[in-house]
Chain length 217, copies 2
Amino acid sequence: MREVFQQELAEVQERLVEIAALVEISIQNATAAFNDSNISLAEKVIAEDDKIDRASLALDELAINILARQQPVARDLRIVVSALRISASLERMGDLSEHIAQLARYRFPDKVVPKSLRGTFQELGQLDVAIAKKLTELLKTENLVLADEIRNDDDRIDELHVGVFDAVLGETWRGAAVDTVDATLASRYHERFADHAVTIAKNIQYLATGEYVGSAV
Amino acid sequence: MREVFQQELAEVQERLVEIAALVEISIQNATAAFNDSNISLAEKVIAEDDKIDRASLALDELAINILARQQPVARDLRIVVSALRISASLERMGDLSEHIAQLARYRFPDKVVPKSLRGTFQELGQLDVAIAKKLTELLKTENLVLADEIRNDDDRIDELHVGVFDAVLGETWRGAAVDTVDATLASRYHERFADHAVTIAKNIQYLATGEYVGSAV
């Protein structure tokens, strides 16, 4: 029984890594579509989000199934419950990536943000992609150094996010209302994407150390 | 054992109703603070969000504890897992309500949105409050008519949300960039608040009917 359970936990972990890898591809394509006004890439992201949703739903079913059959307790139970939470966060990261792609599609053939903000959004995009890669690796290896790195990347994203508002509300901003709306939403999506990664990293840290670091999901 | 379990499920349900009632107060105060530029009400919402976070965390611990001790299967298991999901959504609704209050605080003593949009945000606020009330009642009574009503209210919110973008991007918009940013964010927060309520309503519908209606959380 115990051995079967360990196999099933390994299966859960593998599936989480698979979903994280899908999210990684999604954010890579979404930010490229966003920064380069690449409509076909944007459409690819939008079309493929369904894959992430289905994989997340299937993982939830597996986790509930394990709870029912294996009746885990203590740390084992927390691993399965955490898998449900991580699955929900990954699914949401896919949605946010899709939102970024949707902005690129709406404004095509124009770029979403005016020149003055392009550098900021390039960095935001690179950081989101880096975070997604680290998250996949963290889920695979449970190397907690990656959790700290994700938090540091998120701190930088928060700075950039504040910088977008400073730019948009500053005296030199010449953007039209549509630029202001797009920059506001795009910045928010990039920032929320990273927030979910931090939540997942906290979940993994908690499982590894038993030390709870906040956040209800 | 079975009787103890039923008591514990009743306790979980009561706690969910309590958290939903806190969210109801929060969104009532947040939307009033937002529409009337009431700074003390805004600060109350911000200060009290911690109550929702702690109640949600405590409920999660109770639910995990029940899973460990009672080892529920089939429908009972799904009730407990759903409680974890509903708890996460309620916690997030509290955050969004807090964000609405924060916008009111930032702009005080000014109003957050210009005159032309005030009617729209009054309606958005009323709908969010109505949804929160229906959600508390739905959690208490499992009367599925309320789930349908929540979806209908959410459809209207989506219309209003699109209307905000139409206004901001329209030719008659004279708002400054700060008005555009605020309207964009405020509309998004109101809309996401309702989305989470719909997700919870779907969870409850699923439990009552066994029929799954999508969404991973």
